[in-house]
Symmetry: D2
Subunit: 343 residues, 4 copies
């Protein structure tokens, strides 16, 4: 089974290449990059020297040409929003399965998408697309859809802990506050002064307060689980590290809810899920412990003084927050073991 | 005017030594360290090679002996809580001014202190002590007291932004959530596995959730400003950097409060204060910009979607969060310019 | 085929556990740790949560008991020197294959060993042991020996580039200078002040100059290749990073030697070796590009001004410098593909 | 006494601004920056918020206009080579003292300069310029010259340890090998992919091997001291830190030379020099200990096995390696205490 990647010159593209080259059931047969077309992958991703990446070359990315390749069953789009939709428009009608790592198909409501991202390049595909957070999305998606939208990094770290608690009514919908702390790779491979080593080392700061784009995706998903609108405070921060996201959420306990009922809701939602690790109350997830894994680690405590739960999660923004989750989606879609190529 | 330091082998002690050696109006005449007694300061603090620290030696720390030194007018205590009170018991009756960097005299209410820290070694001194956050404490402290308790690192980063807003009624007392991210030096110079380079690099995590000791100090001070009990959620985190604290606070706006009224309250409280820097709404403080300074940088935004203010602050945990603030207290107490030795 | 690890609580032990758990042809059946006996591996190595390490428990480490386990064919010793020999004394006579990651059997000459490491605990095993650097050691070792000594981290980064050049007479034996730069994990998981995050971050320094223990191993191996004594200057340094070693070697070109003859010697020695990557002259290896791989990257330039070659190498000190190389040794010894579990 | 800076938007310019704002005997009256003209310094250098930098604005940089300002006695040039000479051409004839931090006047031999840097923009000024390494250059420079060339960062770390040893004949001129490891700020404030946080963190590598530009300056100076041509191997490296340079030099001991004669040569050369710290043999300089200081720390050991001395130095590349040294030059030129504004 052959797969391809459109646009693999960024950090998540690099991780996606590694995961697919090491995957037991698929062959990475095409990787496009306008910038690097013609070069072997290992010339651009030197950590892959001495692997199959020495033989595989980046190719140009003409949407029509790619759509014409009937040997490739699944395409991953690792592109900026907007551009991703442009490729989806060619690949979906050609009958290829598309797994999109961009934001283009994460928000079902077009008005909301356009409020946060501007003009949508392929709204006609929205009915054929689905937001797939494998542990939460109804498994029927596997047969229903033509395009899977892989969730964003911050949203995964917020939705995984909160969705089951809202569904079970363990927390209130009001006064939820999520603070996330992300490694610098979350900003992408941008040659901007703000992301230079000397600017980010020994530096921590909040940014994008009040209306970060990922809010649109977080609130739409949480509202679905809660069966009513959820509006929350989401405060993203940059941490002086390369990878990883930790998220700390303060949420008022619903009347009668206890730490046991919270953990019970998590266990019920995630029993048997290989990539969700529920940690005892009192221990806290550490971004270093999930780096390079497709895991989300979860923990929570109850504060009798405030009546709040304090909920913490950790993930690798480039794996469970992007490329690992995309491979997990592929595994489920194609009927492979969920953990294939991910352990 | 001669001053001394009891216990200067930790990170804040090291910064205190540097500030006092560079101070234009005082002479650092005694520095004690059980561990390093007999060694020149520059042998233990190599960054001070080639300075007066080559000549100054660490001495032993016998409380009675120190109290007997009538050439020294001010003693700084850079000691663990409990031990600090033991020294204060000898120095205060001897008529020395004491500036304590520990927690022993930060909490006026003895029951609260003992709930968070256990048995108090010198409760009889509490009436003669005052929690001095120079920008907020009534200036009368300068003549009233015998011992000044320097605020803690986290509390300074929370109280400086919130106190004026609670006094002015710009925010509510309910549903306040403070998330702080601290550099590793905040844990002190402890040879423990958890603080090894390989454990902390590329690692971010929450810790001490629900009942961190600094809460006692934060809530007592904020309740004083609000004129009513303030109970808040305080979530501390470790960030992979050496120095610096950033704090992000979510607080519901009081009815009718606007971002302008918030900034007005800050300006009224901090007009002319050299170490408080109020940054325009939309920009956020960065820990790297305050490293090595005695500043707190402040900023805030209003979120019309949630009705909350999101308030951010940054400070150097070892300077404004510890030793710099202690020197600022000394400057005011002895009638020196507030910024002497701190710019 | 079952294998076991004695002493897996350090950084290289942790990497060894991960490599063996992911290995396609062996089962990790026993892992000992005095400190952690009874705990699941994933409780001590949280990055392994959600894997087989949840089920596997650390056991105590009684040499006789381990030797009695006839289900385990290969034992890896991840122990301090001295202790490793004590275990080898029990396991080798019991007919178990032993792969030792310590220094105990790296030096064939007992007098040299004792000069650098002191008393040897099992000199009687030296005849049955061999220093196995898979790309350089005569393949006959696979049938000859009972114990394989895995090379050290620094030595691998020096011997891999130099051995073929000395054998081919491309460089002189005199005036060779090797400067190595290692990540902090090279110091092991020691709770000492010198290795705290705040001491090592933003810090670079030389250490162990003149007579670092690894010299004994480096010079014995290089002298073997050169057919005459090689004495070199080896200057190790600590770099503020977790993993990786880069080594920069200055070696005078032999009369008539060119950069082409140097590369020819490397290619002849390493043709078809999957873990040696020879980079074009002018490009330099980067520690970040080999992290997590079992590779050594090599490059060199000729300086017509000085008549020297400047030779650079990079490796992951915990993989090719320790546990990865040990697994590579096992693969060859047991007849598995050399890259099994290592790509 | 008023001074000005031309081009202060880089990392060393930022440090120079801080040093001059804090200097007791001069007033920083003009700071130019094409990029930031019109903005307050503290808007571009936020670490200066709350200082005089709030009032001082960047101005445009027209050479003729600057030359016309007769209130400014000393100009610092913090510019790329070539551009610096263009400004010197206007400022020197106008009778201003010029301290140039660029390479334009570091090399006295025009042919050598042009071999390494290309066309020289103001060769006519070379007779009026002097390479001033304050601890080594003949004090007569203070009255002789119109322009002082401040040494480069790497050269300072190599010349300070070697010059006295070559003058005293303690080491040979042959087979000298210098390996330097620099923090990333040494590359300047360039928005290039190579200097992004995610590229440099956890990364160490050699670069610019064989013919780094600083060699021209190093060899010209060392040859002067040795009274004969010195050709050495200089291997620069990037280390994952913001600031600091450590240099490790291997040099064969001259016949009869001992570690005592080496230290004697250093003490004779540097007795009473406040910024040279000679550390006991066996201890090694650490870049973290000199950060923020104008010091060079020196140490050496003798290796009886190889007959070499291994010499180590550490400095802050932005202070003693650039702006601090420039201020030290000003202090001496204007007759201020050498340490004014630098302790």
């Amino acid at each position: 089974m052959k797969v391809g990647i459109v646009g693999a010159s960024g950090y998540s593209g690099e991780v996606l290449v590694k995961l697919l080259l090491g995957h037991p059931h698929v062959q990475l047969a095409a990787v496009t990059s306008r910038q690097h077309a013609g070069k072997p992958l290992s010339a651009v991703i030197p950590s892959l020297r001495g692997t199959a990446a020495d033989a595989l070359k980046f190719t140009t990315s003409d949407a029509a040409e790619l759509a014409a390749r009937d040997d490739i069953a699944v395409w991953f789009l690792a592109l900026p929003h907007g551009t991703a939709a442009d490729f989806a428009k060619a690949l979906v009608p050609a009958g290829r399965k598309v797994i999109d790592l961009s934001a283009d198909f994460r928000v079902a409501d077009l008005a909301t998408y356009e409020k946060y991202y501007g003009h949508h390049h392929a709204p006609e595909l929205l009915p054929h697309a689905r937001y797939v957070l494998p542990e939460l999305t109804d498994p029927k998606w596997r047969s229903d859809i033509k395009l899977a939208a892989a969730p964003g990094c911050y949203p995964t770290s917020v939705i995984v802990p909160l969705a089951p608690l809202l569904s079970a009514g363990v927390i209130t919908r009001q006064h939820i506050v999520a603070n996330s702390f992300s490694g610098v790779s979350g900003a992408g491979k941008k040659a901007e002064e703000a992301y230079l080593y000397c600017e980010r080392a020994e530096s921590a700061k909040a940014y994008g307060l009040v209306k970060h784009r990922h809010l649109s995706e977080i609130e739409e998903q949480l509202s679905l689980r809660a069966g009513a609108p959820v509006v929350l405070q989401f405060n993203p921060h940059l941490a002086p590290m390369r990878r990883g996201i930790i998220t700390t959420i303060t949420a008022p306990a619903a009347p009668g809810a206890t730490i046991d009922s919270l953990y019970a809701a998590w266990r019920a939602a995630y029993v048997g899920r290989p990539f969700i690790s529920i940690i005892p109350s009192g221990e806290t997830p550490d971004s270093a412990y999930v780096t390079g894994t497709n895991r989300v680690d979860l923990s929570a405590v109850h504060d009798p003084r405030t009546g709040n739960f304090v909920i913490t999660s950790a993930e690798d923004n480039l794996v469970k927050g992007a490329s690992g989750q995309a491979v997990q989606i592929m595994n489920l879609w194609l009927g492979f073991p969920e953990t294939a190529g991910l352990l």
